[in-house]
């Protein structure tokens, strides 16, 4: 097998492993399925080009998220592409919850809880949302700062504000 073929194979394996979380992140933050699919693929193609050009990448997962994030931000700048962040209406969410619990009372409480959180998420700014979803992907504050091109203390501030908004919506 040629080196190129082996590299293609490795990139394909990485793509199969990491594409879903990257796509989920782009969908949660930027929200357009076609764009998210396209950008996820572009990030991995960029990885291929970078590795093939001789650069070394230490933390591939972090690198892929950073590139995908930047591609999405650039796409938005270029095309004024702002997808509806919360196109999924509450009715759709509710349909997922229908009779998911045997106890009707428990079901109602669960619905109320999720509805509050759903409303809370709608109140987040784009950057608070990005920081929160990147943190949920397990990135450290320093890494989130590098992905979003902001200082590490600013990440703490975005997360604090994000958590506060969600918590307030929950009635706390």
């Amino acid at each position: 097998m040629t080196e190129t073929n082996q590299l293609e194979q490795q990139i394909t394996q990485l793509f199969e492993t990491l594409r879903q979380p990257v796509y989920q992140y782009l969908m949660a933050v930027f929200g357009n399925a076609e764009e998210a699919e396209d950008l996820t693929q572009d990030a991995f193609l960029q990885l291929y080009k970078t590795v093939k050009s001789g650069q070394t990448i230490r933390n591939i997962r972090f690198w892929i998220f950073r590139v995908a994030h930047n591609l999405a931000v650039n796409r938005r700048k270029h095309n004024q592409f702002i997808a509806p962040l919360d196109a999924d209406s509450w009715e759709v969410i509710e349909s997922l919850l229908t009779d998911s619990r045997p106890n009707p009372e428990q079901n109602i409480l669960l619905r109320e809880k999720y509805e509050r959180l759903y409303l809370g998420l709608k109140r987040l700014s784009m950057q608070e949302r990005q920081a929160l979803f990147l943190r949920a992907e397990g990135f450290r504050y320093r890494e989130i700062g590098e992905i979003m091109s902001v200082a590490t203390p600013t990440v703490g501030e975005f997360l604090r504000r994000g958590i506060k908004k969600l918590s307030e919506q929950n009635g706390d």
Binding site: E3, Q6, T12, Q41, Y48, I82, Q127, P153, G156
Partner: protein
């Protein structure tokens, strides 16, 4: 403000801030800070409750994400089906550098030498067999590489062709593209067609020779215009791309071919599956050289009352020349009246090509200049703003859209590079032929050459940085960042943010300020939708910059709870001009404060309005007004 809290906590038993508690949960505190928070939590019920609330919210968010958000996320529409093809294409087109990833990758070299040592220890017969197998493998790979055609899409092919051509144009100052084509119809030679396109001043000249059939010129011109082919670039990737892009239904095939001398060609065939009217192109093909994707041939099959007519274009010559090589009057100025056939002035002629000298039958066609036109409509004006927006040409660059006394719209611009100029002209393609629009985009070099302006950089928000060593906010910045470099970098970022908000506010002003409330009311539904989409996009960007300024300034300067002042109502489209004026004023005030805080100050560190409640109120008000504009319907 974690550091402040931690310093205070050494003196008195202060409650950790919410941010400190969150960082504690996330493992982001230093060991000393962790020790303090732990010890405090042991004694403080209130902080334990705060910590629990943070953990509950995180837990609820994670649960929501897993139970609702991820399952509800729409599946990728194409099910990742494109990836393998794109990767294969990339593998074909991307050369590996010396010392490939393989030999550099961790362990790769070690494995290579380990395997080599094993190889050396094999017996002679085994080694011979192995070498034979390796050679056979290499031959198979070689044949495979030669025979198998890597798939490449029509879009990729045209993009590459356009890129190569743009690069070629960019290499020549004040480029003039010369192309000579031979055109035949149904296998019968008809004309030689030369075009000169001045890429810097959007001027054009053409010359048709050897015409044996007077009606053919008009017939070809009709076919091209009906199918939106650019007469200035009759055979080019951009013309083919534009035609193809506008087809309602199409199918493409890409195949490889060879010239008589064995050189590689790539042929793109596009079928217009929706062609049903006479004059429409039902099928077209563009033949490109495979080494540089340059178009060398084009075939158009056109429906007509007499059946399908086939027009075949073959390139005889192509050159990118400098405008300086042409006589000053070679290109007619757009405002000049039509000129009758004249002999060509001395121009650089391709020596090796079989160039025909003007004959009795030849003619020089000029662009008609005095075409009657109606004054430009507000809808056309919005279309131009929308096209400029798509090319990101409505921010920062010196591009203006104004209405002239005769009712024409004038788009004038000054840009950094010829490449950028081509991008903008490309974006305006659909309105360039409109007689009610006058477009003049120049590079700085061209404008300097004409001595009409004093050169100055066309700045963008990203390039702005605070300079000097002492700013009014230096004491706060140094106390927070502990390093001058970091402090000044932060200042530069804040100025850039504020600058971006200003660029957007000015773009809004340029967009909306063109219209009176009555004109806004009379817009067509389509133009209205375009205008509002642009307003929402600009307002959204301003809101985000205001939010980011707040988030990033707060940790350094502390928060001031100032609220927002009243903002104008934005209840319908006629309220836009007033609301946009108010937003420009707010953005401008905020920008002045940010600049005064982070740019070099003669007075050194001292008072900065950035700490005042007035500034925070102004920032909040700008954000609130931008949010209103963002939701205008």
């Amino acid at each position: 403000m974690i550091r402040d809290w931690f310093k205070k906590s050494k003196i008195e038993d202060t409650h950790p801030s919410d941010e400190a508690l969150l960082k504690h949960v996330d493992g982001e505190l230093s060991s000393k800070e962790v020790a303090y928070v732990r010890s405090h939590l042991e004694t403080c019920w209130s902080c334990r409750r705060s910590l629990e609330k943070i953990e509950e919210t995180i837990s609820m968010f994670v649960e929501f994400r897993q139970q609702i958000q991820i399952p509800l996320t729409q599946e990728p529409p194409n099910n990742w089906s494109d990836f393998d093809r794109k990767l294969n294409n990339l593998a074909t087109l991307t050369p590996a550098v010396d010392g490939s990833w393989w030999s550099r990758s961790a362990g790769g070299i070690g494995r290579f030498f380990h395997n080599f040592a094993l190889f050396s220890s094999w017996s002679f017969r085994i080694r011979q067999t192995a070498i034979g197998a390796l050679a056979a493998g290499l031959i198979v790979i070689l044949i495979w590489q030669l025979v198998v055609v890597r798939p490449i899409s029509a879009n990729e092919l045209l993009d590459k062709s356009l890129q190569f051509q743009t690069d070629q144009i960019n290499e020549v100052p004040q480029a003039v593209v010369y192309q000579k084509l031979h055109v035949s119809r149904n296998g019968v030679s008809e004309i030689n067609w030369e075009v000169w396109r001045d890429t810097t001043r959007a001027r054009f000249r053409q010359n048709v020779t050897n015409s044996v059939n007077a009606a053919f010129d008009q017939e070809l011109s009709n076919v091209m215009q009906l199918n939106a082919f650019d007469m200035e670039q009759p055979m080019s990737p951009s013309t083919f791309m534009n035609w193809r892009k506008n087809l309602v239904g199409k199918s493409d095939t890409v195949e490889q071919a060879k010239t008589d001398d064995g050189s590689g060609l790539i042929v793109l065939h596009t079928t217009n599956t929706a062609a049903n009217a006479p004059g429409q192109i039902s099928e077209a093909s563009l033949t490109l050289r495979s080494n540089d994707f340059h178009p060398v041939g084009q075939v158009l099959r056109v429906k007509s009352a007499d059946g399908i007519q086939t027009y075949e274009f073959t390139e005889v010559d192509f050159r990118v020349l400098s405008l300086t090589a042409f006589a000053p009057d070679f290109f007619p100025e757009p405002a000049q009246p039509q000129i009758a056939a004249v002999a060509l002035p001395a121009i650089p002629k391709p020596e090796e090509a079989n160039v025909n000298v003007l004959t009795a039958n030849s003619k020089v066609a000029e662009k008609p200049a005095a075409v009657p036109f109606r004054p430009a409509s507000a809808d056309l004006e919005i279309e131009i703003f929308s096209l400029l927006n798509k090319a990101k040409a409505d921010l920062g660059e010196q591009i203006t859209v104004s209405r002239e006394a005769d009712g024409r719209l004038s788009v004038q611009g000054l840009v950094d590079t010829a490449n950028r100029k081509n991008e903008i002209l490309g974006a305006l393609t659909s309105v360039r032929s409109d007689p009610a629009v006058r477009i003049e985009i120049k590079t700085i070099d061209e404008a300097v050459a004409e001595q009409k302006i004093t050169p100055k950089p066309v700045g963008t928000a990203e390039t702005v940085e605070s300079q000097g060593s002492v700013t009014a906010a230096d004491s706060e910045l140094l106390s927070y960042f502990k390093s001058e470099d970091a402090a000044h970098r932060f200042g530069g970022q804040m100025i850039a943010r504020s600058n971006r908000a200003m660029s957007r506010a000015y773009a809004l002003k340029r967009l909306v300020g063109q219209f009176k409330p009555d004109e806004l009311k009379k817009l067509s539904p389509e133009s209205r939708a375009k205008l509002l989409a642009l307003v929402r996009a600009h307002a959204g960007a301003i809101r985000e910059e205001c939010e980011s300024l707040q988030s990033e300034l707060r940790p350094v300067f502390g928060s001031v709870d100032a609220g927002a002042a009243g903002t104008p109502d934005v209840d319908d489209i006629t309220s836009l001009p007033h609301a946009v004026d108010a937003l420009v004023t707010l953005a401008s005030t905020n920008d002045t404060v940010v600049r005064s805080a982070f740019t070099l100050s003669a007075n050194g560190p001292g008072f900065t309005a950035i700490k005042t409640s007035q500034f925070w109120q102004s920032l909040n008000t700008a954000e609130a007004l931008a949010t209103k504009l963002q939701s205008i319907k």
